[in-house]
Symmetry: D3
Subunit: 135 residues, 6 copies
């Protein structure tokens, strides 16, 4: 169903660069499960490594934002970008990191409200208030 | 510059439905400042009221998510939807509600990462893993 | 400010294929005014002709939908696609073809509502009801 | 397949706020059918009510635009926003409200033309003609 | 599954305008295969012809860009626009015109990088450097 | 005008991590010019470095695709994503790497055609032909 083959574990084991990334995903997440995006990206081992390094640096390194909030922001962007797979995977991740049903409900209402006012602003071509500009 | 006139305070005062919304915005926010989106929406008093009621209900009612996080989610959606005005106004709002430079930097890196993987998934047409589906 | 030069009337007159399209735009619209999109497209005379032919066939040929409704649909798509120039030009065109302030207000509320529910559906990944499918 | 459970009639009956919205949908539409978006939104009864109230106010209240035109505008926005579910449901609704095959064909040609010129304008970064600005 | 019936060969044969386009597609491509987009568009014979004429003029006429590069640009736009069908069909076409796995991998990395920096620029609302403007 | 300060050369010199990236940009490009996106990103030195490392790896490392083609793909994605700054900067870059006016014209016609058919496919919800799927 994809536009590139989804690599099996056996196929991944046979390519050292792919195996190294899959091993690091498993260790970072503390789980044996490798989801489909990584199996599709594995067709380009360099692209796979570059993508995973970014994901690990941005999502799995401690910082100012907690892991649950990071996943909720990810859901927001993925919804606005119409990426069904991404909405599915990051909603699962947010729940695994503690997002409650109440928080999910509020998140969706904010995403929906933003989409609504984004479009009104674009339809009206509202000029930026000088108060909002960083000098 | 807009596709509809931006209503002045004097013009708004003259229309009771508009005045009532402007008064409620000022009271809810504890500030006299009315930004341009409301002045543009005021050309349709019903649409103005409906939009403000939604914004107030979703953004200014206490709930599971704190005000700063709500604004950061708003920035994420507005960025993905290419709404420059909205990015400007909600970045200002997030800062007013306590977003630090460090949090802003992390937020942008998550938004950028999500946009990147959203597109990879779409280019590859990755099928949803059964593990992510809610039965 | 554009990424290609905006061609002046004098420059357009000097290129027969461009002059022919500009003449047809003026005749079809009953106006001497040539707006900037055509001056930018004129750098590629073939692309200019192909684009104008499409616009003329779809927007200026009598059919089942009236001219005002066509322009309102154009505004809807341009708003969703974040094209500020297009929102400006087609809002002006819709008004010239009879769109009232009340209709403009309703149009924007529908566009905003659709953007809102589009995003909710994407966030929730709602499966299509069999009732909606054309067999 | 969704990211939240689709609520059954029995489950909806058990939650008074959800039952009230479902009853109002059925009465407003004169039909027993509740499509999936409402069953998914029902996980957040407040969000469900807020969304339905908006839909009812904008789509089911008499105004300047007729019901068929409203649905065609909804299809236009949903197409530009890549919402497959929404395209399906609103195409069915537009047909139920009288959209003919000829009108559907013209609608799609306008949507497609707008998407084409939206992108040309963005690629060329065409500046807004002063003639289009509302002073 | 579509919002309009997919026309069979027998149905297409019965409508002269549709038959003429299908014949031209087969001759231009040197293949009997008619993919689903044309079968769906065939419900509006005029729209079918207009769309095919554009595709033929832009994609099948010799010019400055080679056929493989054209298909790769098509994949880039289709990915950014979240069109799954289009990504599928143009990835197949690009491969048929010589795109290697290595080129596909590089293409996807460029698309992903562009999506990432596009969003950063929008989040930051970076003003255009005067050096980039065409005078 | 941006949502974060654009860092001057003097400010950048004072932060070692920023100076190192600016130096690498200058050396890689063989030019003293640092465009605004980097000055805005410099507020988050880690994000700046991560972004530049990606850009350098994907755009400035020899591979299967030539530099001009890479920039044209970048323009295609940036146009579809409505990023005006990005369209400006990568059109300038493509020209610097040899894109002719003829190639620019063809590029824009392909981008426009893709946007048109992307939307038709979405409006029609065309199912993927089995012939396009990678088994």
């Amino acid at each position: 169903m994809a536009t590139a083959k989804l690599m099996s574990n056996a196929e991944a084991e046979a390519i050292p660069e792919v195996k190294a990334v899959f091993d690091d995903i498993r260790e970072t997440r503390g789980s044996d499960f490798i989801n489909n995006i990584w199996r599709a990206l594995a067709n380009d081992p360099q692209g796979l490594k570059r993508t995973w390094d970014q994901v690990k640096a941005v999502m799995a390194t401690p910082g100012a934002l907690d892991p649950k909030t990071r996943e909720m922001i990810y859901i927001a962007v993925s919804s606005a970008n119409s990426c069904g797979y991404c909405v599915h995977s990051h909603t699962a991740a947010a729940r695994a990191k503690g997002m409650t049903d109440e928080e999910h409900g509020e998140l969706l209402q904010i995403i929906a409200l933003a989409a609504m006012t984004n479009t009104l602003v674009t339809s009206l071509q509202v000029p930026v208030d000088p108060e909002f500009e960083v000098s």
